[in-house]
């Protein structure tokens, strides 16, 4: 029997409640109604078994789901500047966000230990990005060559030491600035050059000896963030 026919034949309210009978959230009366129906209906027991399998599969998927990045808690901590008692006087969090300066917004996103230097660097990075985007729109692609400038932090001269690695990365076009920043902070990366005409950036990342990850771990992390980074390779490798 096709299930559309089953639905027509079994229009009992109990069938609509089966998913929540399966997850155990029905009240006593609803649960009894479903059980009464199951004892007389020839069709619903099959659906009950199927829904149990769906639930089992999804519960396992939750248990096996990837953990969010370790940097997540640090990001949240960085936004806890305003204590709840002070913040909840306003009727909406959104209202408190309106009218905040870009400086305050960026500063809130960073952990206190990193302020205010990183906030300045990020603000500078955003400003330069905006100028570059306008430039690209008005003048076409930038030329590659020796005209690169360091976008954040001091220029790193010469080849990186064994405690650092330089990577060439390209960001997903639709990735937000916030998402890019989260990924870069996760591996403590600093953008040192770019973008090239093809949209590549050069980033500098501290490795194990510099209290960071190994090169392979860094590559694995960045290549795992395919929603933000579409290409990663060791520069000059």
């Amino acid at each position: 029997m096709r299930h559309t026919e089953q639905e027509e034949k079994c229009a009992h309210e109990a069938m609509a409640l089966l998913p929540w009978y399966v997850n155990g959230t029905l009240g006593v009366e609803e649960r009894r109604a479903v059980e009464d129906h199951l004892s007389t209906c020839a069709l619903c027991p099959d659906e009950l078994v199927a829904l149990l399998k769906v639930q089992s599969a999804l519960r396992r998927e939750l248990a096996d789901a990837p953990e969010p990045s370790a940097a997540l808690w640090q990001n949240v901590k960085g936004r806890m500047a305003a204590p709840p008692a002070a913040a909840d006087r306003s009727t909406a969090t959104a209202a408190s966000r309106q009218g905040r300066t870009a400086w305050a917004w960026i500063s809130d996103l960073l952990s206190p230990a990193l302020r205010p230097g990183w906030a300045l660097a990020v603000l500078l990075f955003m400003s330069v990005q905006a100028v570059l985007i306008v430039g690209l729109l008005m003048k076409g692609p930038l030329q590659t060559g020796p005209e690169y400038h360091t976008l954040t932090g001091p220029t790193i001269s010469g080849e990186p030491s064994g405690t650092r690695v330089r990577l060439r990365v390209a960001f997903v076009e639709q990735a937000t600035e916030q998402a890019i920043r989260i990924v870069l902070e996760e591996v403590r990366a600093t953008i040192v050059d770019g973008p090239s005409a093809a949209g590549f950036y050069l980033i500098d990342v501290p490795l194990l000896n510099g209290a960071g990850r190994s090169r392979d771990q860094v590559l694995r992390v960045l290549r795992g963030r395919s929603g933000v980074i579409r290409f990663t390779e060791v520069a000059g490798g």
């Binding site: 155990g24 999804l58 519960r59 953990e67 008692a85 937000t176």
Partner: protein, 193 residues
């Protein structure tokens, strides 16, 4: 409601923690964050389909929990309140023009690469079919299915989280089941283990 709750049930402890958060207790907030970060991440990942955006939305959700803990009035479970905030964040994110709907490798990376004995392989086959079937659902239908079976919410709680009437939740589940039934014919007919 006297329903049997799934093992994730931590309602009373959540309320205690949230009360401490409301008074500015950062340690309590960290406990609450650790308790919810994975569930929220998986839920938001299912909604926005991009890990970095899902992580950002977890941050935004928990920041709102920190800032607005005192506004929680106990009319629902803490988990319902938190998932409601997350649901609104996902809706906003999905409206952004730069949002990218699909991360095509995401489903593949969620696969367990180490299948074990035969029953484990069979379980994974079912899990793979369920996961693939979910991809055929609309975001609203997928939300109802995941909140029900993955996160163990009642239909009333899902209505609160999704911001829609209870009957809409049931209607969405009705259509979601029909799509699942089409995609999972073997499972629904009892022919697959």
């Amino acid at each position: 409601m006297e329903a049997v709750r799934p093992s994730l049930e931590t309602s009373e402890a959540d309320e205690v923690l949230l009360a401490r958060v409301a008074s500015g207790d950062q340690a309590a907030f960290e406990k609450l964050f650790l308790r919810y970060q994975k569930r929220l991440f998986r839920y938001l990942l299912g909604a926005v389909r991009a890990e970095a955006i899902a992580e950002e939305l977890v941050c935004e959700t928990m920041t709102d929990v920190w800032r607005n803990a005192r506004t929680f009035q106990g009319r629902s479970r803490v988990s319902t309140w938190i998932f409601g905030i997350a649901s609104n964040k996902a809706k906003t994110a999905l409206r952004r023009p730069q949002h990218q709907e699909a991360d095509p490798e995401l489903v593949l990376r969620l696969e367990d690469p180490n299948p074990g004995p035969a029953d484990e392989i069979a379980r994974q086959e079912v899990a793979g079919q369920v996961r693939a079937a979910l991809e055929h659902l609309t975001p609203e239908h997928r939300q109802v299915v995941e909140l029900t079976f993955m996160h163990g919410f009642s239909y009333q709680e899902i209505a609160t989280i999704a911001g829609c009437p209870v009957n809409t939740v049931k209607t969405r589940m009705f259509h979601a089941k029909r799509r699942l039934r089409e995609a999972l014919g073997g499972i629904f007919s009892g022919r697959v283990p």
